[in-house]
Amino acid sequence: MAATSMAQALNAALRDALSENERVLVFGEDVGQLGGVFRITDGLTAQFGEQRCFDTPLAEAGIVGYAVGLAMGGFLPVVEMQFDAFAYPAFEQIASHVAKIRNRTRGALSIPMVIRVPYAGGIGGVEHHCDSSEVYYVATPGLKVVTPATPADAYTLLRAAIDDPDPVVFMEPKKLYWSKEDTELRYDSEPLGRAAIRRSGKDATLIAYGPSVPVAMQAAKVAAEDGLDLEVVDLRSLVPFDDETVTASVRRTGRCVVVQEAQGFAGFGAEVAARVQERCFHSLSAPVIRVGGFDIPYPPPMLEHSHLPGVDRVLDAVDRLQFSDEPDGRYLTGVRA
């Protein structure tokens, strides 16, 4: 088995989908000859020709709206938004059409497509290149929203997204593009919607997704040295949400921290925390605590480390899960979430 990066896994997923299904078209800004600014589409035009993988004019609403029409005509578009914040011009097309055409036509028109969005930070990118924009999509009924945290998942989830009968916003955590794993890329046709338990534990559950999964894993590792046995759930699919796995885990551990890189206020972690306390209230020994970025525009590269939730911020939250009855002077004021 070879060490495969997430970028390679995504490239392989596109390549295999293009090979197996001639309806698949890959397009966007700079995805052709250049192979994308992150090289996720590297070599696809050379292998499949300009008809299958091509550059478009520079207009994101145009790309998504054009994809809607191609999907109506029987094609299966897989489009790339170059960066998270540069998908915003397409927001009306996504929210008012991509998400709603099936419902509007009572299933007569379905427009399966995949909108790939490289998202989140941690790569020293400047403003507009590091937004955690998942919340805009998860709050829009009719979209599925998926985000991998490992190369193996990147491959299988992207294949599943392309095969899915519904439109999928596929969020790629940029900082993990170069993360590697010894894995064979395998697609097992499992439908979207299942979380994965990345690490079993009995003392508390860390729920994470995308870029925060490695942070949660690292935190669990450090906590283990302190004798705390943390379970880590990788959501993988934000919509549909895997209540079953999440609820079972928290009912078992009785404590829960939700980790997200996004700004915290009204972020996706709010939904996770709200659901968990609704469904596990009597199993909980402490409130569900959220850990995330601050409620600020993404900061400049020189300050992003202060903004991003790291292992320490996660472990601080774990500390507040009231494992003992001894009061902790730091938190008696109760001002902090």
Binding site: R104, G107, P240
Partner: protein, 365 residues
């Protein structure tokens, strides 16, 4: 850039017109277009009589509370009938909320056309069966879909084309710009018909655009363009027909601006007296497309009283049938709310469906 390329892309300096307001023939047909035949004009006339009757009936249905809202096509029938007439069976139409008459002319069941406007589900017909996209509400978004579908046809090697309808106001939206550009770059077989009816709700064209005319937008994308008297059915058929033929045979996109007028208010909920005077409306009544076409066809001896009566009767039958079928409230099953959000409801939607079922049972009990 050579002058001839530029000239080819620019529209005629004045709108193409084949019939004068009094129905007489305007001599000479601009190069590149062909005068429609008398049978073509007769077919359009018949559909226009029926379309106008449909429109009046729909307006009446709003007063009877059977339609929530209706944006009338009255005055714009030359555009809308021509739009339907130039379509082949394999072509697609991308309409807006304003284009009910075009849909009826295309053959969509009038009740299905009005589904959205009566408060029922948002698209009453099967778009693929009739090759008509859902009537689009978010302005200008549909022209991108039209462009994508046109590209799909071209990729599949079909000799078909797409006709996308849009209003003058909606040309100000960014999506219109992006669609024209995509269409040109991908040489998509799509014709954009701007029905310039002078207003976007209350906003007159003079506050919408400072262009010499909207057709002058084409050249900025390398898209051929034309401006037409939008109340002249013959001119509309000639220009749209040519544009669609060109598109079907690989000639690429085309932008047509039709100068027309919305004789009614924006919708039945709108009060047009707040922003335009009757004087103006009266002026446009003189340019009404229906009497103009009728006069012309009678003048050339092609249309008889009998023909007119036959068309009117057909219109009455359609109106009566529409009245009758719209006279009952459709029964929508609340449980259907969850059916088509996704191909298969998510677990969350399944739970919510159960919740609604419980609520409904409680309300019954």
């Amino acid at each position: 850039m050579s002058d001839s390329v530029v000239q080819d892309l620019l529209p005629s300096p004045t709108p193409v017109r084949l019939l004068a307001e009094d129905g007489t023939t305007v001599e000479g047909c601009p190069t590149g277009y062909e005068r429609p035949t008398v049978p073509q004009l007769l077919a359009a006339h018949r559909k226009m009589v029926i379309g106008r009757r449909f429109d009046a009936q729909a307006t009446a249905l709003t007063k009877q509370g059977r339609l929530a809202v209706y944006p009338s096509s009255h005055g714009q029938e030359a555009c809308q009938i021509a739009a339907a007439e130039v379509l082949g069976p394999g072509d697609w139409l991308f309409p807006t909320y304003r284009d009910s008459v075009a849909l009826v002319a295309r053959g969509v069941d009038p009740v299905e056309v009005l589904t959205l406007l009566r408060g029922d589900w948002h698209c009453g017909y099967d778009p693929k069966a009739v090759r008509v996209a859902p009537q689009c509400t978010p302005l200008a978004t549909q022209v991108l879909h039209a462009t994508g579908l046109a590209s799909a046809m071209r990729r599949k090697g079909e000799n078909t084309a797409v006709l996308a309808l849009i209003g003058d106001g909606a040309t100000s939206e960014g999506d219109f710009h992006e669609a024209l550009n995509f269409a040109a770059v991908f040489n998509a077989p799509v014709v954009f018909l701007v029905q310039n009816n002078g207003y976007a709700i209350s906003v007159p064209l003079s506050k919408q655009s400072a262009a010499p005319s909207l057709a002058y937008k084409g050249i900025g994308y390398g898209v051929r363009s034309e401006q037409v008297d939008g109340n002249d059915t013959a001119a509309m058929l000639a220009v749209l027909g040519t544009a669609m033929d060109r598109a079907r045979s690989g000639g690429g996109p085309f932008l047509v601006e039709a100068h027309t007028y919305r004789l009614e208010a924006h919708t039945n909920a709108d009060d047009a007296t707040r922003y335009r005077d009757q004087e103006e409306v009266r002026g446009w009544l003189a340019a009404d497309p229906l009497p103009r076409l009728e006069k012309h066809l009678r003048d050339v001896g092609a249309l008889t009283d009998e023909d007119v009566r036959a068309a009117q009767e057909e219109g009455e039958r359609l109106a009566a049938d529409l009245r009758q079928r719209m006279n009952a409230d459709p029964h929508l099953d609340p449980m259907s709310l969850f059916d088509h959000v996704y191909a298969v409801p998510t677990p969350q939607l399944a739970e919510q469906r159960d919740l609604l079922a419980t609520e409904l049972k409680a309300q019954e009990g």
